[in-house]
Symmetry: C2
Subunit: 149 residues, 2 copies
């Protein structure tokens, strides 16, 4: 697959970017380190919680999505930087054994007014589980180099 430049992104384009699975042990390990709330780290207390079982920290879910981005996107795109992320949501919890896939949809492309070698691409990224439920949704901004500035 050849390198993609700003000119290669069009509003409405969608792309599926690989799959990841997550185990109970991984959920608990991440939870112990960064988000030790009972429903992330303790199977028994998680079962008694409103979630009815272990669920992944939302930051673990976001990190799993990032791994798919790095493995399947970053090296193929002339990306310069990401100014940030908007509208980060976790509509459905991630549970042990879930299989997650990333879908991206281009929302906006805009050439930079001040730096003619680049443009801003706004992308909606959604992480879906094996039941087609959205477990994470966000809008990413990326500065991407032009092929022909």
């Amino acid at each position: 697959m050849s390198m993609r430049y700003f000119e290669d992104f069009a509003v409405g384009d969608t792309q599926d970017l690989g799959e990841a699975t997550v185990s109970a042990a991984e959920i608990v390990a991440f939870g112990r380190q960064f988000d030790p709330q009972p429903f992330h780290v303790d199977e028994e207390r998680a079962s008694a919680s409103p979630f009815g079982g272990l669920i992944a920290s939302g930051w673990h879910t976001a990190s799993l999505a990032m791994r798919l981005v790095v493995d399947h996107y970053v090296s193929r795109v002339a990306s310069l930087a990401s100014p940030g992320v908007d509208e980060l949501r976790w509509p459905t919890p991630v549970r042990p054994g879930d299989s997650l896939r990333l879908r991206t949809t281009i929302l906006e492309t805009r050439r930079s007014r001040t730096k003619p070698d680049r443009g801003l691409v706004r992308t909606r990224a959604e992480l879906l589980n094996q039941h087609d439920q959205t477990v994470l949704s966000l809008v990413a901004m990326n500065l991407i180099r032009l092929r022909n500035p």
Copy 2:
């Protein structure tokens, strides 16, 4: 410290919530698992990158902030859920040895129209390094129980 309810939050209130440090080994371990870009996992290639050295994955930085929230905030607040996060930004990179502290500022409080036992609190969270530079900024939404519904 007693439990804080919706009525205890006022726009403009600020609070400092603990400190965390991060080592090169932790930056690399997180990067290898979730964000294996050269400037997160490889000291030598990081030195040759525009960052001039290892920097933490933005999701690592966010996870470190979450740990401070869990250790110093969650257990003291009658929080019901978080619908999500807006305006996630990483203005300055996190580097090995950095000492990070979390500052929160209440932006908005609003009682729920449909569920009279709770209200929405919008909070700006900023993670600052030892040079008072902002390494992470976000706006969190939290549903918080009323003391006297």
